[in-house]
């Protein structure tokens, strides 16, 4: 199989380039894209990418495969390959450190802005802050995010304004704490989000939903934040 890989080593290369390589796939077995990367690294040990758990839990190996973001470790080659060719690029919109490794500082900075931790000014009870099963169910589809950045780097609004628009991953986490019955900073959190960029730069094109490897729906969470802002503001 032909594989075209984005290569860039800022210490050596003036500009990035796509390099064609080929790998022999075992008969009758559908490899994951991460397996193909491992085979490529066997040919060229200088090829750089992030990987860790290789089972879609750590979120390290988010890359762009034939134009669509996803986790290399849980994406079968057969699902992304087009006309017998696999094209691998780094996640779009973030600065490239080397080859398929991107600098995620901007992504984490936006995540940090939503204060992704429980805020509660009441004294903690002896054991734990309790929730009803219904209150706990409100967090389903929100807490599962693994911060792989596939969604935010598929979002044009995040490409244009990565310093101002929080992006789908950060906003999913913002709503995760807005929806948490144990959090008491709802008004404060909402007032921080009511500017023309942080939430409202989302145009609802749903690229985030289309690429999320965990099947989450950041667009719905953003809609819920808008509804909460509407309730608070009117």
């Amino acid at each position: 199989m032909q594989v075209s890989v984005y290569r860039y080593n800022p210490d050596v290369d003036e500009v990035p380039q796509m390099r064609d390589m080929s790998v022999d796939l075992p008969e009758g077995k559908d490899l994951m894209v991460l397996d193909v990367l491992e085979l490529l690294k066997g040919q060229d040990p200088t090829l750089s990418y992030r990987r860790s758990c290789r089972e879609g839990v750590c979120g390290s190996d988010g890359i762009n495969m034939n134009g669509k973001n996803g986790l290399a470790c849980i994406t079968p080659v057969s699902e992304v390959v087009k006309r017998g060719k696999l094209v691998l690029r780094p996640l779009p919109g973030l600065p490239v450190v080397r080859d398929l490794v991107v600098d995620m500082t901007q992504f984490y900075r936006q995540f940090e802005k939503v204060q992704p931790y429980l805020i509660n000014d009441q004294p903690p009870p002896a054991q734990e802050r309790l929730q009803s099963p219904e209150q706990r169910a409100e967090l389903d589809g929100l807490y599962e995010c693994i911060l792989c950045a596939c969604c935010s780097t598929a979002c044009p609004s995040f490409w244009w304004n990565p310093d101002k628009f929080i992006g789908p991953a950060g906003l999913l986490q913002a709503y995760r704490f807005l929806a948490d019955s144990r959090d008491s900073a709802t008004a404060e959190r909402l007032s921080k989000l009511d500017d023309p960029f942080s939430v409202f730069r989302c145009r609802g094109i749903m690229n985030c939903v289309s690429v999320c490897p965990k099947g989450l729906n950041p667009t719905r969470a953003i809609g819920k934040i808008r509804s909460m802002l509407l309730h608070q503001g009117t």
Binding site: S191, D195, S198
Partner: protein
Amino acid sequence: MALVTNVTSLTRSGLADFLIQRITAVVLALYTLCVLGFLLVTDNLSHAALVDYFGSMGMRLFSTMAVLSTAAHAWIGMWTVGTDYIRPHYFGTGATVFRFVYQSGCVLILFVYVAWALQLFWSL
């Protein structure tokens, strides 16, 4: 305090801009239906018929509301487009100057449009 402040957006509030853009879109859709309906049901479309229709107090007020809605809707939209695309990444250090000129141009065009339309509607 909001995470991002921006003095050139219409209201500085994302929610207010969002609502204004949608409410003005509804006003413009209703106005379009109103004008299209008039054009479709009028058999003998003459200058006199147009003056008679648009010169009524109801249509003068509705036209004024429509042109003000156009201005607000267009400003929010053009401001959004400008802040998306006119950025240092594409235009280097001159991006801020370019964006200021672009926004000033938009304001000037919208002002002329509103003034001209009001003068037309209220001199019928």
